[in-house]
């Protein structure tokens, strides 16, 4: 369906075969100019994005890689105080930051918790989304009411929801503990006890994530042809068998996509943890991203080099995700 960006669409196919854009065959002089005149429309259209990404992601990325091999911190970077300009005095330390991070227990603690956090958030919200979508995807009085109610958490900006949950979780006066007190149960230190705080941040993130899963699964369910279910029923398949052998396989494409997307989002989920617990108590709920942020913007002196090293390691971990993602796409017959 896509065509070559040569000027004449109709001739695109011929141009392809005649010019032979094979990797090594077209190395004639003027190839660049011809390529330019052929493709400049396409290039002009993507130029702004490439420029923005290059300047705002490319440069900081290279710079971050460089910083991670230095001992840069708040005290020795280039800065201006009043009228005095103080040049940078940090120096290269090779891979010391990386060895320091990797040999430090803090990193492994944070990594373990980040993985628990990501897996449990995605697994729980996916399961709930799937169950609720199946419940909604049938003839039902009040269906649109339920639908609207269930996706409401998605409509509210995440940081507003997080503040609301802080109100509910308040240890002394929050509504949750007041309800528990009504049932004669002692107040729970939702955000002040390491274990409860972990459960709390997962709860809030699941609450935020279910609507996305729900709507995606509903879309997936509606794309499964009804005849399949009729045929299965004729053959005497019970509800569970139909779910197991028709619904689940029919949802495979959309589930693999949403699981990967939300896996990446959750791994990088900054606002929930930063605003709900600030990573506390201690650093119990700190995931890799918030910890790296803390190193460069919260602790004193700000440890820019250490933060950059954490960032690079996070990026490497996420590249693993990318490989998985690409494998998944390839299985689905994605061509590019």
């Amino acid at each position: 369906m896509a065509v070559d960006s040569s000027q004449s669409l109709a001739k695109a196919a011929d141009a392809h075969s005649v010019r032979g854009r094979g990797p090594r065959t077209g190395k004639t002089p003027g190839r660049l100019r011809r390529s330019l005149s052929t493709h400049w429309y396409a290039w002009a259209m993507v130029a702004p994005v490439v420029a923005v990404i290059g300047v705002i992601i490319g440069y900081p990325l290279v710079r971050g890689l460089y910083l991670s091999t230095t001992d840069a911190n708040e005290a020795n970077v280039e800065r201006t105080i009043g009228v005095n300009h103080i040049p940078a005095t940090y120096k290269s330390v090779g891979l010391d930051n990386y060895t320091a991070v990797l040999s430090d227990g803090v990193f492994w603690d944070r990594l373990t918790w980040t993985i628990i956090w990501t897996v449990s958030c995605v697994a729980i919200s996916f399961t709930l989304g799937l169950v609720l979508a199946n419940m909604l995807n049938r003839k039902l009085a009040g269906r649109s009411f339920y639908r609207m109610a269930l996706i409401l958490p998605w409509a509210v900006p995440a940081f507003v929801s997080v503040f609301t949950w802080r109100l509910l979780f308040n240890e002394k006066n929050g509504i949750l503990n007041k309800i528990l007190a009504g049932g004669g149960i002692d107040a729970i230190p939702w955000l002040n006890d390491p274990t409860w705080a972990k459960l709390s941040v997962i709860t809030v993130n699941v609450w935020l994530g279910v609507p996305f899963m729900l709507v995606a699964m509903l879309g997936g369910l509606q794309s499964i042809p009804g005849e399949l279910y009729e045929a299965a029923e004729m053959d005497g398949a019970n509800a569970w068998q139909r779910f197991r052998h028709i619904t689940l396989p029919g949802l495979r494409t959309v589930s693999s996509t949403v699981i990967l997307i939300s896996g990446i989002w959750t791994f990088n989920m900054f606002p929930v943890i930063f605003l709900l617990t600030r990573g506390g108590p201690g650093d119990a709920t700190e995931i890799l991203v918030t910890y790296a942020y803390r190193l460069s913007f919260v602790v004193s002196p700000r440890d820019f080099a250490g933060s950059a090293a954490w960032g690079v390691i996070i990026l490497l971990l996420l590249s693993l995700f990318a490989v998985v993602y690409r494998r998944a796409l390839r299985k689905q017959g994605e061509v590019w």
């Binding site: 109610a149 900006p157 959309v254 900054f270 950059a308 954490w310």
Partner: protein, 292 residues
Amino acid sequence: MTDQKASSARGSKAKVRERGERGPLASVALHVGLLLASATAVLPPLWLLITSFKPTSEAFSTDLVKDFTFRNYDHVVNDTEFLSWLGNSLLVVGLTTVIGVFISATTGYAVSRFRFPGMRSLMWLLLITQMFPVAVLIVPLYNLLASLGLLNQPVGLVVTYLTIAVPFCAWMMKGYFDTIPVEIDEAGRVDGLNPFGTFWRLIVPLAKPGLAVTGFYSFITGWAEVAYASAFMTGEENLTLAGGLQTFVNQYTSDWGSLTAAAVIVAVPAAVIFGFVQRHLVGGLTAGATKS
């Protein structure tokens, strides 16, 4: 939840019933399950709304509103910097949305319609930048903006947000443009339009729903972003909403009355716009990843 599902499944298994019908017990279970889930979903925002109408001193009372008051709203709007935060956010978000939609639409169109050298690497670039963690870029970006004098400037945040919103939006737009028949482009060419003309005069008007979804995504990206906004904007009058609201409830103060009122003002427009675009949202979100 699974119990209810199982029981509804048992109900539909019964032989005497028509296909798609449930027994009364299964129906009750289904409704109870959905009601519980809906209540869980709705209660926190509802509680926020209720609390915002209570006097500050009663922010934590479990009563529904006893002394209904607008004082929190009045206080937030008139006595705090809320309006400047709102203005900052609107400026940043507005610019991000307009520029983001425009450049992601052209990019999406180019990768949907043309095969050009560098396209595959561009697609990869767009995919990979989606998963860039804040942590790896934020310090160098902070230094870069500082050296350009763009800290505390809305422009700095706009450019930053573009890098978050645009890769994803370009993917969504590609998915959307793929659903528009190529014959329309061909007809435009036959009538003598160049590719820009075809794009602008024929395709953009057809792609309005897709553009709306993209616009919403850009809007939400800017409206709800916390990390960059907290790091790059300092000084009370320079904050955006995400940063500003943090000042109401931090380790030193806890002004829940102002927080709840401000949060409601922030949430309502977002929720209203969301209501308009939600039907198209997931299709767009997953299209880029699932369709070729």
